[in-house]
Subunit: 435 residues, 2 copies
């Protein structure tokens, strides 16, 4: 295969010409994914000899397939800097998963075609497990298709389920949100518990792994402090033991605060809140376990309840981001660019924990081949024997990740978030691509 623009740029007088860098956000966004984007753009600017422009995919990888690229140089440096404190995905994201190479080679050929047409020599894909799989495939295919491309995965997921990295950017801030919200709501419930609402249920995200629910456990520091019960996806729901525990908590403390993961399952393996809709990755779309559990308690014990469903609030609450998380989100973006300019292909920067107390970490590198399509489950040793709480070990792991505050600037009482211009790069291809 041969594309326009491809050959003429690569070598000029023996020196490599600076190539463009393509960056895309993938999957569910977080309150700090834009901090990673900020780092990518700011770090690229320090390597002008190797990186010409940073293009972003409008709506993620779909922007690459449809040749809908955003020229990030059209936004001011101040606007780019403000990404560091702006939640959501500034360029748009998507859950579009590329098929296997055999199944749909055309998708990969199209990607390379677009990359070649726009002198893109670096591909940074910012996402979770599925995205690392895509990045890995692209890293293998470029050379074969005649347009070698340096592919670097950039970790991001509130689910904290990527392997090898000690934690995932995005998780620390959700963890902080859940821990703080649990502590605050618990104080509210306690105030009225002797005469009114006795049970409070907070439903949090976490499809397969209970990392986020576990973070709720940080709200309490001494025995008896809320949350009194955590329901993990890892532990099959034991109704009888649960009901006993609720009653015990209400009788002992006058109230019971419960953090429940959306992914909690009945003993038969079905989600407690089975929904019939699925997202485009084929995952079941969940929601509703909070009110289900609350009503179950009311039916059994007659306790008055309240419940909250945090949903997107938990992963967009940039106002309550963890400073550690923001720093790590920035660090992986910066490291990804540094790996890219060194020509390291098919890798992902990871966070390596050096020590718990004081908490110290550094950036290391993992191979995409070892990351793609693997899910890191929460160790059983982080969950108490009875299955309803976190252990000292779990706490030691989680506690540092919510440390520090990194509030955004405020104006008129509201966080001042940036909206980029997101100017399109002129299309160079005549062909259109059907998704």
């Amino acid at each position: 295969m041969l594309w326009r623009h491809q050959k003429k740029h690569r070598n000029i007088g023996g020196r490599m010409k600076a190539m463009n860098l393509f960056y895309a956000q993938s999957g569910g966004v977080t309150s700090v994914i834009n901090a990673t984007a900020c780092a990518v753009i700011e770090t690229a600017a320090k390597h002008k000899n190797k990186i010409a422009k940073v293009y972003a995919g409008r709506d993620g990888i779909i922007g690459a397939l449809t040749e809908d690229l955003i020229d990030t140089s059209q936004d001011s440096r101040a606007a780019i800097a403000a990404l560091r404190h702006t939640p959501g995905g500034a360029f748009g994201s998507c859950r579009y998963k590329l098929k296997g190479l055999e199944e749909n080679k055309a998708q990969y050929e199209r990607l390379i075609e677009v990359f070649a047409a726009h002198d893109i020599g670096y591909f940074l894909y910012n996402g979770g497990g599925d995205s690392m799989d895509t990045a890995h495939k692209v890293s293998q295919i470029g050379q074969k298709l005649g347009h070698p491309i340096t592919c670097v995965g950039v970790p991001k997921t509130v689910d904290n389920d990527l392997p090898l990295t000690d934690c995932c950017p995005g998780f620390g801030s959700v963890a902080k949100y859940v821990a703080v919200s649990t502590r605050e709501a618990a104080l509210d419930v306690l105030s009225m518990s002797r005469t009114s609402t006795k049970v409070f249920v907070l439903e949090v995200m976490g499809r397969h792994a209970g990392w986020i629910a576990a973070a709720g456990g940080l709200a309490g520091e001494k025995p008896g402090e809320p949350p009194h019960i955590i329901l993990f996806p890892e532990i099959p729901f034991d109704r009888k033991a649960f009901m006993r525990r609720v009653k015990d908590s209400v009788e002992r403390y006058s109230y019971c605060v419960i953090v429940v993961s959306e992914g909690v399952r009945a003993p038969d393996g079905r989600f407690l809140a089975e929904a019939d809709t699925k997202d485009s990755f084929g995952h079941a779309q969940l929601g509703g376990v909070g009110p289900i559990v609350a009503q179950m308690i009311k039916d059994e014990h007659g306790y008055k309840y309240h419940y909250a469903v945090a949903d997107y609030l938990q992963r967009s609450a940039r106002h309550l981001a963890s400073k550690v998380d923001v720093e790590q989100a920035y660090a992986v973006g910066k490291a990804a660019v540094q790996l890219a300019v060194r020509g390291e292909n098919a890798v992902m920067p990871i966070i390596k924990r050096i020590s718990d107390k004081p908490y110290r970490w550094k950036i290391a590198t993992a191979k995409l081949a070892n990351v793609a399509n693997k899910e890191k489950m929460m160790p059983r040793s982080y969950i108490t024997k009875d299955g309803f709480g976190i252990t000292a070990r779990g706490r030691r792991y989680l506690a540092p990740l919510i440390r520090g505050e990194a509030p955004p600037p405020y104006q008129n009482g509201l966080p001042k978030y940036v909206t980029l211009k997101n100017k399109s790069v002129r299309k160079r291809l005549k062909t259109r691509f059907q998704l």
Copy 2:
């Protein structure tokens, strides 16, 4: 009627002896009601010639009826100062409403009996409309029962529905929470809207008045900015117009963010989320309108949705309190004590707005007789003609109330909230009281 301890204390050598002050928190708590408590205790300490000790009712007025009083002097000054940044009700609250004087005179006699037994000369009741009614009744009955007591109501309610006062302490912080959360979640939804979730529904509190839902409108500052739709309790739900509006928003902006009040009603007057449980004031207990509205949209338009139910998170989120709200909560507590020591009976400090821009306010005084059992509805002029948004006038009223940040101190990534010792005052009465 004559009680022990009653006569001997009042007059000593012609000078009034300092009496104790009784303070109780009533009804749903807020993220700043403890700031009011802090002000009451700190201000009382400046009037030692008139106020001996501040007693708080354990679980509100129930603590008075059952002679379960808390001696606030047993906690350190630092602990009391920390109330300023601690959400919930530090002494416990309740929704127990005293009956009418004719229906249950025994309750009022008991109150006065307890007040007399503990040399209580001041009664500060911190709550909403129902509580102001109680305070008003108590203010009338003391004299008749031979133990005159100075009763001062102290405004508090996230519902913002007390009359005469420009706003109610507690509301500004919920308003800020809802506005910030709407803005943040909207950025999340927008990121994915072209390929995934198009509709986001945030369910907020507000039984009869749409003040809290209206505050969501502050999230957007320019036309087209989210929230795209607000559903108010004041506007009968017009399904057809609503569905048209949702579709229009998705087609125009690619997404639709909706803030819905729990109190929104069908044209027949029933709550959209009618529940069969009622609280002890006889109000219907609501919840669930968020998912109902979201599913309704899915059925009609097929749009993928997400919803969040903020519930207690919104009224306990002290980490995101409005600085103006914290200051006003403190100011009414301080003013209440000042009114009490001046012997002003049956009054309530109110917030009077002097100007919108710059926002200036002061404390004034209202008569409890004019406050009790009245609900301030939101002016129709604050809601747009189509019923789905707020007007410039509504914005002018709401905007100043969310101004400024007043973050609590943090430790290990979590807000450092105080838990008081809440030591009991020794009982002096032999009789027990059946609630």
